[in-house]
Subunit: 303 residues, 2 copies
C-alpha cells in the first residue's frame, strides 16, 4: 500500500471569496464576505484569496475588495491573497496590505483574446510591471493559468507545451507560484500526468498549485493522482464549491474545500481543518447566493 507519510502535506488555497464570488450571479454583501473570510481563517485554512483590485474590474461581485480587506480580522499564520489586474490595482492591493499578489493569464490564444482582451504575449507583458513592483515590495506573485487543460473557447485541448511556455515567461518575470486551472472541469488524471511530466522539469512541485473544477466529477481523482504520483501538494478549492461553472449554469465548478480536505484526510494526510466550521461558513452564504451549495459534504447530514 502507498506510504502517504512520505508525501508532502497538502496545502489548500481557499478561492471562494474571489474566484468563487466572481462567478456567482448574486452580489454577496460586504459584511457577509468579511464574515465568510473570518470563518475560513478560523477553520484551519492557511491561504485565502480574498479579493481583486484594478481598474478593469471583473464585475460588481468584487467591487468592494478594499472594504473587505479593511474589515477582515487578520489571523496569524494565514496568508491573504488578492487578484491584481493592473498597476493601479497593485497600489490598492499594497494599501490593503495583501500578503501575495495574484495575476491572471492563459496558454490559450482564444481564452486570452476572449477573457483577457489581448493576445497571450500582450497579456503577459501587462503582468511584468505588476510582478516587478510586487517583488520590490517583497510581495510574492502567483499566476493563475486559466484553461491549462481544455479551453472553453478553443476547439481542441491546450497542449502541455503551451502551458510550459507561458510558465517559462512568468518565471523569467519572477512569478513564484503557478496555479494551473482546469477551467472546463473535464481534465482526467492522465491529462494531469501529461502536464506535470513536462512542468516539473522546469519548476519544483512546491511552486505548483492545481485548480480543479469538479464539473465532470474528476477533481478529487486529479488531486489525489497529482499528490500521490508527483508530490504536488498545493490545491485551490472553494468552500461549499461556491462559484459554479462559468460556462454552464447550474453545473458544479470549483472543487469544494471540504470535499478536498476530506479526500486527503481519508487518504491518510493529517489535515488540520475543522469540517464543521467549514460547513457552517458555506451554509451562511446560501441566502446570499440564492442557491444550494454544490459540495458533496454540504449535502450529507452528519450525526
Amino acid at each position: 500500500m502507498l506510504d502517504v507519510t512520505t508525501l508532502p502535506l497538502p496545502r489548500l488555497t481557499e478561492v471562494g471569496p474571489r474566484d468563487g464570488f466572481q462567478n456567482e450571479t448574486a452580489v454577496v454583501p460586504t459584511e457577509a464576505k468579511v464574515e465568510f473570510i473570518d470563518a475560513l481563517s478560523g477553520s484551519g485554512v492557511r491561504e485565502i484569496s480574498a479579493g481583486a483590485f484594478g481598474a478593469q474590474l471583473l464585475g460588481p461581485q468584487l467591487a468592494d475588495s478594499t472594504e473587505v480587506f479593511e474589515n477582515i480580522r487578520r489571523k496569524e499564520g494565514v496568508q491573504y491573497l488578492a487578484l491584481v489586474l493592473d498597476e493601479a490595482g497593485l497600489d490598492a492591493a499594497l494599501e490593503a496590505e495583501v500578503d501575495k499578489v495574484e495575476v491572471l493569464c492563459s496558454p490559450s490564444e482564444a481564452y486570452s483574446q476572449k477573457v483577457l482582451d489581448a493576445p497571450i504575449a500582450q497579456t503577459l507583458e501587462r503582468l511584468r510591471p505588476i510582478v516587478n513592483r510586487a517583488w520590490k515590495e517583497r510581495l510574492p506573485s502567483r499566476a493563475g493559468v486559466a484553461a491549462a487543460f481544455q479551453c472553453p473557447y478553443q476547439g481542441t485541448g491546450v497542449k502541455p507545451e503551451a502551458v510550459v511556455a507561458v510558465v517559462d515567461r512568468l518565471r523569467a518575470m519572477g512569478v513564484a507560484e503557478f496555479s494551473l486551472c482546469d477551467t472546463v472541469g473535464s481534465a482526467s488524471p492522465q491529462e494531469v500526468r501529461a502536464l506535470l511530466d513536462l512542468l516539473l522539469k522546469r519548476v519544483g512541485p512546491e511552486q505548483v498549485f492545481l485548480h480543479f473544477h469538479d464539473t465532470y466529477g474528476m477533481a478529487l481523482a486529479n488531486a489525489l493522482a497529482a499528490w500521490t504520483e508527483y508530490g504536488v501538494a498545493g490545491f485551490d478549492a472553494s468552500c461549499g464549491g461556491v462559484g459554479g461553472c462559468p460556462y454552464a449554469p447550474g453545473v458544479g465548478g470549483n472543487v469544494a474545500t471540504e470535499d478536498l480536505a476530506f479526500a486527503f484526510l481519508a487518504s491518510g494526510a493529517p489535515m488540520s481543518v475543522d469540517f464543521q466550521k467549514l460547513r457552517l461558513a458555506g451554509k451562511a452564504l446560501v441566502p446570499h447566493l440564492g442557491h444550494s451549495l454544490p459540495s458533496h459534504l454540504s449535502k450529507i447530514e452528519f450525526r
Copy 2:
C-alpha cells in the same frame, strides 16, 4: 506518464435497473424499465443487472422482474443479471433465463443483522443452495458484498480481513465474481488499496468488481486508482446515477455509468459507449423518478 495500453479494458456492469430502482422512492412502471434496459443494451453496456427474484421481495420497486425479463429485447453479447434471494427466486430466475445470478451478503455483522435479518454465517449458508444449483444449471454467480469499506450501522470501519473472510467462504461455494460495495460512499483510494492488497492474494483481478457510491465525491478517484494501480477493471455503475444514497435522502449514491465511462475514456481507455444514448436513457427516467439525475454528465449541456 502512465501507459494505459498495458491495463485491462474497463468493464462496466449497469446496476440502475436493480440496485438503482430498489433505492428510489418511486416505483418505475414496467414499460419504462423495459425501455430503459433496452436503451442501455443499445448504448454499448455489456452487462446489466435487470431485476430481482425471491419470496422476500425487496419492495414494490422490483416486484415485476418476471415481466421485465419477458419483455426486454435480448441483445447479442449482453449479459442480463438478476439478484436471487432464495431458492424459489432461483426457479423464477431460471424461468426468466438470466445469464448470471447475483447474491447478497456483507462482512459487517451489524449490516447483516439489520438488512439481511441474520448473522453473517447464516446469511452465507442461505446462499449455498442458490449458488450450487445455479452452478449445476451452468449459471455463474456473483456476490454483492455490501458495506465492504464502511458500514452505516457499525460504528467503525469494516476491516479488509473481514471482507476477505467472507470472500473465502463464497469462493468455497463456487461464487465466481465479487462486487465490493462502498455502501456509505466515503471510501478513499487508500482504503481501496488496503482492501485490494489483501484481496488480490486470494482472487484474480478479473474476479473483482468495485461498486462505488459517489456520496463524498471520491468514486472516480477510487475507480481510477483501482484500475491504474491494481489492474482491477470491473466496476458497477448506474445510468444517470439512479438510486441515490439509501441512508441520506437527496444525496448521490451509485456512481453514474456515463461519468465513469467518461473518466476512463478521458484517461485513455477506448470505451465503446454511446454517451448520447446513455444520457437519453437516463433522461427518460426523470418523469418516473420525480427528481433530476445526480450524474455529472447529465447536468452538462453538450453542444
